[in-house]
Symmetry: C2
């Protein structure tokens, strides 16, 4: 809980393995994850991308079969389980006219605060989803200013910069990072990108990844919470991660008396 | 040497400790460094920021006393020593009317190809230098397309993105990174930022740092060459680093059949 006496924010991520097509089971398990996170005192709960549906769709029809709207019961259940927390999780969204989006819902006890539709679709996602056409919202929530992003979005520094300039203090990033090769001892490359985004913008970045193997696709299971100084605070490859982060530094972009992350930009030139 | 049979580019960085105010000695040592790098077969030689002057000036007058123009003899000597290589190194520049700039010269056997004036001045540098007012050039050189940056410039993703979009394949970055705290086992934070810049733009980033202690200021000595995939190829804390990098991947920004680093940007929104 965030309070003057304890100004840190408790963040929880639940790294799970959604089952492709199992909407009811995935929803049940996501509600259980929210309950567990809230029981651990979380202020912010982040779940993976497409946590209600799974990722590796065989066809548009299959994706459509597990697509839901923001009025779906799962979000009511997240809201009921949320207590004082804010929940951010991914889902396969059915929009007007049946268009599908790779979306994230932001939910608190009052219900759905916002739905964000992924702007940067990765690879085969372009077969199933339409890209969103609105920048992520920056939401004033109880503990600070929160913006959702989804997975590949994070790899566009234009977007992370935009959100930091718009006042976001914490980026909540549901992800499904496909496992790729990397040198021994290195973090996933997406985490390096998250660390740099955190550092150059002085924001907290909470990446909740998935685990398991789905139709032959292996996942990174690279859930990582990055502090405002750019260093990882906690990592987890499965289950519930709970950690405390300090959002206060995000509110001052001054590096030294004469250096400032935002004021030093050369907006006259780029 | 770059050739069809051996398409890699040999990069050399010389991590040294310039002596504050010792223009003649620093120049001599910089020429020695170019000679050693060229003898090792370098196609590209990168030297630290302000390698001719040192960094921690006590006064504007002291900086002015070691400021030079692009017609200074040291650049003629770099050119004579360059062989087939391109040399990028930092210097304290005296501009028209005596204005001082924190600049980098790009030199080949024909002489000075370009002078770039640092756009983002770090902290106390603002007491001594005027900021440049032109974006770095992207130069067609023998082995590829090269752009110079200086130190803190690298921490503005707008600029690295701009240069990659403008066709830069390798960023040559003279730096003087002040040593700061970081968790045990971590790279310097500037290297993390360089890795992310390399990865999201698929460019090679060559950071040549300095070493030593100057008027109480300790330096990171974090010289690092980052490949186009975002992973460090080589690091060195003192003396001559020589390593081979492949610029070919920088010429194709496609990640998968349906994902592309540049085409996936949402320039309609940011």
């Amino acid at each position: 809980m965030s309070s003057p006496a304890n100004p840190t924010t408790r963040v929880a991520c639940h790294t799970s393995a959604p089952r492709i097509g199992d909407l009811a089971g995935n929803c049940d398990r996501s509600v259980d994850a929210v309950r567990a996170a809230v029981a651990a005192g979380a202020d912010l709960v982040v779940l993976p991308e497409l946590v209600t549906s799974g990722y590796v769709f065989a066809s548009v029809e299959e994706a459509a079969g597990v697509a839901i709207g923001p009025d779906h019961d799962v979000f009511t259940r997240w809201a009921r389980a949320a207590g004082d927390a804010v929940v951010v999780g991914g889902f396969c969204e059915r929009g007007c006219g049946g268009t599908l989006f790779n979306s994230a819902a932001v939910v608190d006890r009052t219900g759905v605060l916002a739905v964000y539709r992924k702007l940067h679709l990765w690879d085969e996602e372009k077969r199933f989803f339409a890209a969103g056409d609105e920048l992520p919202p920056v939401l004033d929530v109880r503990f600070g200013r929160l913006a959702p992003l989804i997975c590949y979005d994070l790899e566009f520094p234009e977007l992370t910069r935009h959100l930091a300039l718009a006042g976001a203090e914490v980026l909540a990033v549901p992800t499904n990072w496909p496992l790729g090769p990397r040198p021994d001892g290195e973090r996933p490359p997406e985490v390096v990108i998250a660390m740099a985004a955190a550092r150059v913008n002085r924001v907290v970045v909470v990446c909740c990844d998935r685990t398991g193997t789905e139709r032959g696709q292996r996942w990174t299971a690279g859930t990582t919470v990055v502090g405002a100084d750019g260093w990882p605070v906690a990592v987890q490859d499965e289950g519930l991660l709970v950690t405390d982060v300090d959002l206060a530094p995000t509110r001052d972009k001054r590096l030294t008396e004469r250096a400032h992350l935002f004021e030093d930009r050369r907006t006259d030139l780029y």
